[in-house]
């Protein structure tokens, strides 16, 4: 992999951060946790030796951020939240976002893979490499997710999912 200087690396991260953040919101269902995970991933991205190993910054950020989000889950229980960050803009509610409602029906792993496959456009091979699973495992996880949505759709014939997608 060609070594990027600081500016090129920063540009590469800037080019994909928004897409990664949206993917993270899809995968974890929370803007706050997604932003926290993205910041952790950006911190990790600036560690020495990282950029040389990264083929796709978006896939790498997504994977590292998801790990950080999972690690932070237990920690959040102990954090004392005093007030919201005063600089934060009012955030729109995610409750009404149909895609998120669909994704909530899936397991966390299924959500991660579905978003990686259909939103970030990662191939099954790329998913397999980043999550250290076999290609067949990645394929079957996504297939199970689709099947689950299909079952829900058939169960709710003319129902919510059919109207949604």
């Amino acid at each position: 992999v060609e070594k990027l200087d600081d500016q090129e690396w920063d540009d590469a991260l800037e080019a994909c951060y928004a897409r990664v953040l949206r993917a993270l919101i899809g995968a974890c269902g929370s803007r706050e946790r997604a932003e926290d995970g993205l910041q952790d991933a950006l911190v990790a991205a600036w560690k020495p030796g990282v950029r040389e190993q990264v083929q796709r910054p978006d896939a790498w950020l997504y994977r590292v951020a998801l790990r950080a989000i999972r690690r932070a889950r237990w920690r959040l229980r102990f954090d004392v939240k005093l007030t919201e960050d005063v600089r934060h803009d009012p955030e729109p509610s995610l409750d009404k976002v149909v895609a998120l409602e669909l994704l909530r029906r899936l397991t966390p792993r299924q959500r991660e893979f579905v978003v990686a496959r259909y939103f970030l456009d990662l191939s099954y091979r790329e998913i397999a490499e980043h999550w250290a699973v076999s290609v067949s495992s990645a394929t079957s996880t996504v297939a199970q997710a689709i099947a689950r949505l299909r079952r829900d759709l058939e169960k709710e014939d003319d129902g919510w999912i059919r109207r949604s997608i």
Binding site: E14, R22, L42, F78, K81, L82, F119, I146, L149, I165
Partner: protein
């Protein structure tokens, strides 16, 4: 599942994800970048740097003692050497004084994780972990002329002049107070 239906559902799902997720507003990249830089600079605890600093001090002391013994053994005691000026971290943060009942714990730690020098003090106000540290210090910062930048996620940040100070509280150990040059005009 019927392959055709499978594909149709895949396409529909893909389309729905693109439409909905792409519509979500995100903050500018600079916001996340600055937050990441601050997080590197003000990482509470910084256990490894603490260990590294500690190890450096121990090695330096051992080498100095060994050198002193070697000099004394070879030349015997001589005239007292003139004091060498040394740079050491400020014993307390600039422009901020802890309220009564609170005190600093141990020596401050100086790091330069990015381009800015960061100094970290551990302090104690009678409890460790201290989940009230930020709440307790918020009025103290205001009284001493500091402006609040942000509070949340176990961290509070204030600025005054060219300095910014962050207080971090966590579920482990004493809270920390970190001071560095102000990173941006709108505060971090």
């Amino acid at each position: 599942m019927d392959p055709e239906k499978h594909l149709a559902l895949e396409l529909a799902l893909e389309n729905r994800l693109r439409v909905d997720l792409d519509a979500l507003a995100v903050r500018p990249y600079a916001y996340y970048r600055e937050a990441a830089v601050r997080r590197i600079a003000a990482r509470p605890g910084a256990p490894f740097s603490f260990v590294r600093t500690g190890a450096t001090i121990v090695v330096a002391v051992v080498v100095a003692v060994a050198a002193a013994f070697a000099v004394l053994k070879v030349t015997g005691p001589g005239p007292a050497a003139s004091p060498t000026p040394t740079t050491s971290p400020a014993p307390t943060p600039a422009g901020f004084t802890l309220p009564p009942g609170c005190s600093y714990v141990g020596e401050p730690i100086v790091e330069q994780p990015v381009q800015t020098v960061v100094t970290t003090w551990y302090f104690n106000c009678g409890a460790a972990p201290d989940f009230q540290a930020i709440e307790r210090l918020t009025p103290v910062f205001a009284q001493q002329g500091w402006t609040l930048c942000s509070i949340g996620q176990g961290r509070g940040t204030w600025w005054k002049g060219t300095l910014q100070t962050t207080v971090g509280q966590s579920a482990e150990g004493n809270p920390v107070l970190t001071q560095l040059a102000r990173q941006s005009q709108d505060c971090p």
